[in-house]
């Protein structure tokens, strides 16, 4: 009889251990839907092993992305300069920071970031990895000007964030590292792959004669020769995510990659942006100097300026560029606009 008592106590002990383990919530894996063209044409997206996507993590990242709590004076969120309706960019040439300061570069659009295979982000490649990139504008004095210690203190004292971090990461102790992970998870889900040209490649739409001719200008080495840096039907990112000096200036006020690497051969180089969603991402170039696509095309056609680090792919720089005809320019623009993804900017998954 004594033995029976021990067995019952032991059984209760085991059950109590088991129920304690059940209390630890395991976040649910997020199924990242990879667009058909990306799956067919590109290598797998970059998802760090130490930050897998989860439903709870992505939802938390989305909430943080739009929360002013991440800025020093709590007046600004990430979404302030990365607006969904503008393909997560900013129509202002230079965005205004939390304290009214203006930056010197145009806000980069945010989409398809998980396919930046070399993981160098921002115009100048300053940050390696999306998690690092997330923190940069939060603490940058001319952007959100936050202090990570202060922000995590706020988040830890918040009425709901500790529980949300508990669900997403198994801890209610919020750190800057976990903030970065959550926002990066959300940003990796921001995908744009449903433009007219995507549908054309999938056989679900047809191009006008002007659009088709514009694509040929884009792909022709003796015409636009855009494909060497800006993708193609076989690289539907429409960027190589590499750094190039595209002949904007003869001398530099902004060194771009050169300021990061410290190597003068990188002066004036900036990361190629994707050509998707140009309808929503004006103004153009790293400093937003061009307000229209016509100006951009004119630049490559006859506005190139020589500097020592100009990319060798910038042809005929001595005469300003490749010299497209008016018709070719108009057709090229027509093609570029087929990369517009209206569904993307109306996607409820990204709406606040």
């Amino acid at each position: 009889m004594k033995h029976l008592g021990f067995y019952i106590i032991f059984l209760f002990f085991l059950m109590s251990c088991s129920s304690k383990e059940d209390d630890v919530y395991t976040p649910v894996a997020y199924n990242l839907e990879i667009p058909e063209l990306f799956a067919d044409k590109l290598i797998a997206p970059i998802i760090p092993a130490d930050n897998p996507l989860t439903i709870e993590g992505v939802a938390l990242g989305k909430k943080l992305f739009s929360d002013r709590i991440l800025s020093g004076n709590q007046t600004q969120s990430c979404a302030h300069c990365h607006k969904l309706q503008e393909a997560f960019s900013d129509s202002s040439q230079f965005s205004e920071g939390a304290e009214g300061n203006l930056g010197s570069r145009n806000s980069m659009p945010l989409f398809n970031l998980a396919w930046n295979f070399e993981e160098r982000f921002a115009w100048d490649g300053k940050e390696f990895g999306l998690e690092n990139q997330v923190i940069e504008p939060i603490v940058n004095p001319i952007e959100m000007h936050g202090d990570l210690n202060e922000i995590t203190k706020r988040l830890n004292g918040h009425h709901s964030y500790p529980d949300l971090f508990q669900l997403a990461f198994g801890t209610s102790e919020i750190s800057g590292d976990l903030v970065a992970k959550a926002v990066a998870q959300f940003m990796r889900t921001i995908i744009s792959a449903n433009s007219k040209f995507d549908k054309y490649l999938l056989g679900k739409a047809s191009l006008t004669a002007a659009e088709e001719n514009g694509f040929n200008v884009f792909m022709s080495e003796e015409k636009g020769d855009c494909f060497h840096c800006h993708g193609s039907n076989n690289n539907p990112l429409w960027t190589d995510n590499q750094f190039h000096n595209n002949g904007l200036d003869a001398t530099f006020t902004d060194l771009g990659l050169g300021a990061i690497s410290g190597d003068p051969v990188d002066n004036g180089k900036f990361r190629s942006p994707s050509l998707r969603n140009l309808t929503f991402t004006a103004p153009y170039m790293h400093d937003g100097r061009f307000s229209s696509l016509e100006e951009v095309i004119d630049h490559y056609s006859e506005g190139l300026k020589f500097s020592e680090t100009i990319d060798p792919l910038m042809k005929k720089v001595n005469i300003g560029g490749v010299g497209l005809s008016d018709q070719e320019k108009a057709d090229l623009k027509a093609f570029l606009l087929t990369l517009t993804d209206v569904e993307f900017i109306n996607n409820p998954a990204f709406k606040n």
Partner: protein, 254 residues
């Protein structure tokens, strides 16, 4: 007591036979091909890029900005050990200069050869995700498929001013009639001769970059510099000059 002994003895024999079958009837090993680069014997690496420090056979002074190329179809003893599924984009700037080949038969004499670029049967438009992701494609209007090489840089023109060159090798395409493109496979096989290999062998394959401008055609950058992809004749010249670019280097075993 004797019975278990016989049983284990029998089991040991069976196990050892199995091992023999799996490992030693057709033994194979992995070897590494390591591509190194030089300019007429002077070592060349990405640290030499973007400086006017190389002079071509035509006396053009050049600087190199980018050099990446495709090797495929590695053959040992004339046997296809690697088909289209094994290839490598050699990229000096990114220090990606090796190709690991597995399943190489151990043999006293191995004839080693590989293809510069893709043979036509492997040069299929858009099918290699890693090469698409690296933007190494050739436009469909030029026959599609992939570049064999992207070699970009600058040269000093007649006025001693900087001018760009894009020495891009692809399958030759005559697009005189866009509705009837004539293609010619200008990839080529590099035969490195017989090599004795053992486990963990690294084979150095040397590219003399100067040869692209030298032999048999002295390349004049003032005439042939950019827009060479749609230039059928220029692609033939590249193919001819490429034949003497590669040579066998050191063979080492770790």
């Amino acid at each position: 007591m004797k019975k278990p002994f016989y049983f284990f003895f029998f089991l040991l024999i069976i196990l050892s036979c199995k091992d023999e079958t799996e490992c030693c009837v057709n033994p194979t090993i992995a070897i590494k091909l390591k591509f190194t680069h030089n300019w007429d014997g002077v070592e060349l690496s990405s640290s030499d890029f973007n400086e006017f420090k190389f002079r071509t056979a035509n006396n053009d002074l050049i600087s190199i900005s980018r050099l990446r190329y495709l090797v495929s179809n590695v053959l040992f003893n004339n046997t296809i050990e690697s088909s289209s599924t094994i290839y490598s984009l050699i990229d000096i700037d990114k220090n990606e200069t090796t190709l690991l080949v597995t399943g190489v038969p151990i043999s006293k004499v191995n004839a080693l050869a590989f293809t510069f670029g893709f043979r036509d049967e492997d040069n299929l438009d858009g099918v290699y995700a890693d090469l698409n992701s690296a933007s190494f494609n050739v436009p469909e209007m030029l026959g599609g498929g992939y570049h064999y090489m992207q070699f970009d840089g600058k040269f000093k023109d007649s006025n001693n001013a900087d001018a760009n060159f894009n020495y891009h090798a692809i399958r030759s395409a005559d697009i005189t009639d866009p509705d009837n493109i004539i293609l010619q496979d200008t990839s080529f096989e590099v035969d490195l001769g017989n090599i004795e290999i053992t486990e963990n062998t690294t084979i150095e394959i040397k590219m003399n970059v100067a040869e692209w401008f030298k032999n048999p055609n002295t390349w004049n950058l003032k005439e042939l510099n950019t827009v060479l992809m749609p230039n059928f004749d220029a692609q033939i010249l590249m193919n001819e000059n490429g034949q003497s670019v590669f040579s066998l280097g050191e063979i080492t075993s770790n």
